[in-house]
Symmetry: C2
């Protein structure tokens, strides 16, 4: 219907903005933990401001969230594999982590958006720890830009 | 149609088996890293053995994968929050990680199932590192059973 069409166009526009917006984090010369927090915060802020659009995003009737997650996953995989390679670790692990990250954030935000058991900043901090702790355990302190 | 009905019933049966099967990992007195690897391997083995069912699982026309992920997320959240609380860390971080984990594994396995760039054991190792490194950075060496 018309409502679904309008919502679908809105979600597609947001997705088209979110991917480069999150990608912009890689252009900033900031430590790993700060870069991860910024990227995750951009997504969580979108969900906090547009909860109905996020819900629509998750519904089968809406546009495929897989398309946005695949674009984000490819970008993260490129950065993460270069970041691990730079410190002598297996770049394939970065590919795996890169493709895992959008799913991790989507799933956690889905739970958070329906329970709201913590402020957004706390959620972002917890998700940042998961990723940044793992990178730091591998000796990565800065993320390489995606190629 | 009939084919979709048969596939749907199969997926539901698998989901009904996968959740308690993965939960069984918590009953074993093994170190954190080994427990995480076992749980992730159960899911990846299912996808490797039943790629068509996994693909059907991801499709909008199939049964809601959210239901299985919500059940897994709640189980992980319960264990992870108790595990972090036991070492004096914020249990809410464990809730967040618990709900993030099924999404992370689903997204990474979705990518892996379509590219097959590494053996299953390598994929399981990379995903295990992401989770176990983060827990170890928080001082957790064993996972508490879910309550």
């Amino acid at each position: 219907g018309d409502r679904a069409g309008v919502a679908s166009a809105l979600v597609e526009r947001y997705a088209a903005e979110l991917v480069p917006s999150i990608g912009g984090v890689f252009n900033e010369a900031v430590p790993l933990r700060e870069a991860v927090a910024k990227g995750i915060n951009i997504f969580c802020t979108f969900v906090e401001k547009e909860p109905e659009l996020f819900r629509f995003f998750l519904e089968a009737s809406g546009p495929d969230p897989g398309a946005m997650n695949t674009a984000l996953g490819a970008m993260f995989a490129s950065s993460f594999s270069a970041s691990l390679f730079a410190v002598g670790r297996d770049p394939a692990m970065g590919e795996t982590w890169g493709h895992a990250l959008p799913g991790a954030v989507f799933a956690a935000v889905d739970w958070w958006a329906s329970t709201r058991t913590m402020p957004r900043q706390t959620l972002v901090g917890h998700l940042t720890s998961l990723v940044a702790d793992a990178f730091e355990a591998s000796g990565v302190t800065r993320l390489a830009p995606p190629s």
